[in-house]
Symmetry: C2
Subunit: 230 residues, 2 copies
Amino acid sequence: MTAQAERQDELRTERTKLRRVPDRGAHDFETVARILDAGVYCHVGFVADGQPYVVPTSYGRNGRSVIIHGSAASRMVTTLAQGVPMCLTVTHMDGLVMARSAFHNSMNYRSVLIVGVAEEIPDSEKMDALRVVTEHIMPGRWDETRQPSARELKLTTLLRLAIDEASAKVRSGPPVDEADDYALPVWAGVLPFALQPRPPVADERLAPGIEAPPHVTNYSRPNATAEGSV
Amino acid sequence: MTAQAERQDELRTERTKLRRVPDRGAHDFETVARILDAGVYCHVGFVADGQPYVVPTSYGRNGRSVIIHGSAASRMVTTLAQGVPMCLTVTHMDGLVMARSAFHNSMNYRSVLIVGVAEEIPDSEKMDALRVVTEHIMPGRWDETRQPSARELKLTTLLRLAIDEASAKVRSGPPVDEADDYALPVWAGVLPFALQPRPPVADERLAPGIEAPPHVTNYSRPNATAEGSV
């Protein structure tokens, strides 16, 4: 393989290769990172007592790994800390694709799926890891707020999942109809969707004279779509 | 138990009871249905070769069940059709909760988790089930588009998951800080997020004179938040 082909297939394994519509997919780190950086929450899959569970949770990307966290008492975190297989998926819903036939209705989206085993982040690195997650979700906020106490760090379990086996899937653009259907007198196109911040709502207990800082009023995510979706 | 308490705990089982922060949770059908109806895509969890996978897909609610579908060739659909345990989760991210301390940053959200085993929908009911999914996602569209051919129905596998074991989780409102931290000179509050439709984009191949119909231009989801999020 050429170096370029190797990079393209870098995160492709038997478990993450795309079986269907492979032209919608990618296995290179840059595409995966771009989709991860646009998002603030993921869905984590794990198995407990033979039953799969899918739980939403926040995350941050730190180079070639994703960090998640939770109460040391949560089932998700205690299960994952045992080193069981997990899956972490991030999805951005970018639009409803309305075709001339019901069969070809679809959605535009960007998603990433990572499989692997998480490792628990040791105490000495917890502060850094929490900073990564906070700054991923709310860039600029860490330095403006009270940082975690020793007790708070103890109550938090942080997990690191390496981005070694992953796939990205992207659908964009107009509907694809059957050739005969283009003549139908049916409106077709895309209804774009965007997940966007609205005006901030100050805490009622906020002391007078404290204005929302730029990291709140100018909040934006990287790699948004043309429609501004994160 | 009183009738009301029975209704409240109706979908609660050992697998769906909320272990932490139970006051954020509910197990009644109406709360679960309301959150499902606000959404158009879910994350499905299943296990293949010992590895959990979490895959985004569209869905529709039909009374006390959720219908999903996919190509008869997809791994998700073929795995689930075998009757293995699955989990279906819907999440709405309603806002970033910014506290005075990093530890108490949070998110406002509404989510539903359903566990169970899907059953494949027989051929005779496929047309109805596809209509349910289409009308859930794009209300008003089914009757305006070409309906599926026998061949298209054959290419589609539809699955029904009963809403028998489920939980809902909701966080809303301002940050909750430590008593001492309220005196800090830090802005705190909520940055609401909303997933909303943008102006429709007509297919470039649309025949002249076809205007976007009301089900496109007036698109809205039921049970949106005050901020309009779906």
